[in-house]
Symmetry: C2
Subunit: 527 residues, 2 copies
Amino acid sequence: MITGKNYIGNTLSAKGSKEYRTFNPQLNLENEKTYTEATEEEINEAVKLASNAYKVFSKISGQKKAAFLNAIADEILALDDVLVQMYCSETGLPEGRARGERGRTVGQLRSFADLVEEGSWVEATIDTALPERKPIPKPDLRKLLVPLGPVVVFGASNFPLAYSTAGGDTAAAFAAGCPVIVKSHPMHAGTGELVASAIIKAAKRTGMPNGVFSNLNSSGIEVGQQLVVHAGVKAVGFTGSIRGGRALYDLAAQREEPIPVFAEMGSINPVVILPEALKNRGESIAKTYAGSITLGTGQFCTNPGLLLGIKGEALTYFIEVLSNEILTIEPSCMLHPNIIGAYEANKQKAISQDGLTVLADYGSDVRTNYARQAITTVEGETFLKNTTLHQEVFGPFSMVVQCKDTKQLEAIISKLEGQLTGTLIADNGEAADNQNIVDALQNRVGRIIYNGVPTGVEVCPAMVHGGPYPSSTDSRFTAVGIHSIKRWVRPFSYQDWPNGLLPDELKNENPLGISRLVNNVQTIDKI
Amino acid sequence: MITGKNYIGNTLSAKGSKEYRTFNPQLNLENEKTYTEATEEEINEAVKLASNAYKVFSKISGQKKAAFLNAIADEILALDDVLVQMYCSETGLPEGRARGERGRTVGQLRSFADLVEEGSWVEATIDTALPERKPIPKPDLRKLLVPLGPVVVFGASNFPLAYSTAGGDTAAAFAAGCPVIVKSHPMHAGTGELVASAIIKAAKRTGMPNGVFSNLNSSGIEVGQQLVVHAGVKAVGFTGSIRGGRALYDLAAQREEPIPVFAEMGSINPVVILPEALKNRGESIAKTYAGSITLGTGQFCTNPGLLLGIKGEALTYFIEVLSNEILTIEPSCMLHPNIIGAYEANKQKAISQDGLTVLADYGSDVRTNYARQAITTVEGETFLKNTTLHQEVFGPFSMVVQCKDTKQLEAIISKLEGQLTGTLIADNGEAADNQNIVDALQNRVGRIIYNGVPTGVEVCPAMVHGGPYPSSTDSRFTAVGIHSIKRWVRPFSYQDWPNGLLPDELKNENPLGISRLVNNVQTIDKI
């Protein structure tokens, strides 16, 4: 049952007067339910509850946190078709995608449950005392990772489940022991409320403190801004545009007490196609990429927006196949009129640049809110000079840059802004023979792919989803995979602390049986 | 042989016209040698060389980096008495301290050498492919930590060796694979040049690329500012005042591409003395703390500037002993007339606050540049209301806060800014009985000490030197110990990359024999 209210901790609340609705882009009309934006009073209450909850939640056992995370996963699955239908009605995405993203979300929650149940993730490090050491005795020191405090998570427009209410940021923060306040994304407030209700149910069922989670409705930027500058908030997770993420980063950096903002932002995900691969299998690469560019209507942060090749016959043929192929793909619906509005505007801005040629632009005869995919091309020299062409066009759009030689290719890569991914398409010894290009690409990205496509972000420990600015605001962390928990923790050290008062992770007996670095040796042994 | 010049990579250079000298506070006169401040041209050249050096240095083996780090340690030791005498002449600190700090510096370098030679620190994480997985195959993903790029390190006034030219920040950055540009501290430019010459010798001897290290002289703030805003600089390490660190943090956050600044700044290091301990051994605690407060003329960031107790007979007696004891300690020399000037000014500012009582202030009859240690006291209520009293007085100064009860004590701790350390002095069951106080203290600090003193920062893996703002700008990292290497690295992921082209750390064969997380199991096995 959707109420349109905020969850301020366990309490449904709608004190404000600002209301809004979500939009069904497939039907091109507003959904019926109205949502009430959170007031300043409600925001303050949510932070106060989170700060209180932190005192308890930051110290509960890994086992209890795991039970909470698994219960969230169970409650999300229990929402079943209600959730799937709500998802589809607020995004225009197909049911299969909804179910797939739900699976990913549930999988993420369970992988963090496993992580904290096992417990070694706290990086327990122990250096025992040397009381006889000269000239001064060595104290006993024991370190572990502890949660930062209340975390604010911003829902992402393009992943209502996996990167929103109970998505990766929230799952990682809960696993770390941080209460979470979600700034719900206005485009999918209903999906957000449903998932929030699942989290609240799970929190109650597993005995979590009131305030461990709140869900705040918002139609504009004010709620998010108020949260980020609130003294009780200790860290921020965001997935979205460069402009949005940077604004939050700036706000957080200007606080009296600056706080970390982990924002995962835009990316054009350069794909380098080396000559031999282009010659040997240009047609098949073109077909694969037509699919990758249009996957999910291009609404992925890993969408390949930039294809780089060396000018010549093979590239000309590749472009021809890619252009033809992409026009055979049925257009699909974007998330919201605002998203397709931005897509068309950004596409036009790119197309209007000097030297850009449009190779394919799907006819105007498409349904409302359905995106017309496009392929463009430009000379390397032109691309190098005009950084407007380096900007992301969020949607099913890509640009083929025709470089005059590998030197220019390398120069272009080096001049790119930071990216989530880079891809190398190569045959035989080409990768080894072009080490400079590979090095340049590695230096600009968080993940490098060999003979594949950047779309598809596997959730696994070895994944890096993040990268040099502006693909993220802090390249020292990943947003996906179990190690993303490190965004929300800090190391904390006990000196000469009585064994009985230490957290279990650091006790001599190692009651949790976790792996620890003891006197510089990794071990599960007792002391 | 001191030249007074900058090291721009391997080249001694002095293109500027701005000259300055260091000062001998014991003799109260300027040292003879003049140093030439780096020009903008020299700064740009140093960054350019560092960026080029990064291409090579970021990929050299752990063994070679270890050889470089050990060679730096050897070359520092080879400077022998020349270095010790220079150190003393620029700081007023005794020879024993110089030798002790040199030992710490050399020890840090060697511990990072051991870390990178062994190699497991890169947190290699491998998830092998599942080509048969439905609905889509799982790719092969392999992750490791890679260096960020050129790092700027600011020398600290109070640790010319251990936190300056070849100190912890530099050692950690080199270990990570980052070239380093040091902004030399103007108070010990000679010590800085000597250590820089040792690094350059070591770099040449072990075949490191030119530009892996530069040392820039500076008398004011301009050189540092220019470095922090330079597009080629990718991270900053700083140890010093809150004002200085925050200014650099702000500059870095306002860049088009923001970069991480790890600043380790001020702290008053609260010490909580619980009633029973105070009653049982107030005299001995007072004597211990008289020593800790005056150690190194109070010029440690872990100096105990705040002692908190419950008002009553035992605290009155403690205060009496502490005040008497501290006056029996011979005053000692501060680092520089500016430092003692700031000390006296900050002490006067504190003393002039309403409600503060001076219990001990060493007589005026002391040598020039020698600090008069002082003990003051204030009621809990007064302290709680006046945050001026929460500010650090850098030097041999401490304030005893007389709380009316444990509730007020807890309120005071909760209201403190972030701190490097917190100390609990307790007897028998007192710690367990005062869990609220312990929790409040833990929440404000990076390291908590039981029945000890905060001065003395052991260099070991379990140490956390850092903490909530403003003790540091990023509590997610420590500045001391091998794990401080994590400040200068980012995770990087390879997807479906050919085995032969992977870095050794990620190859199937595990040629380095390091510990890796393979399909979620930590192992040294091959794949």
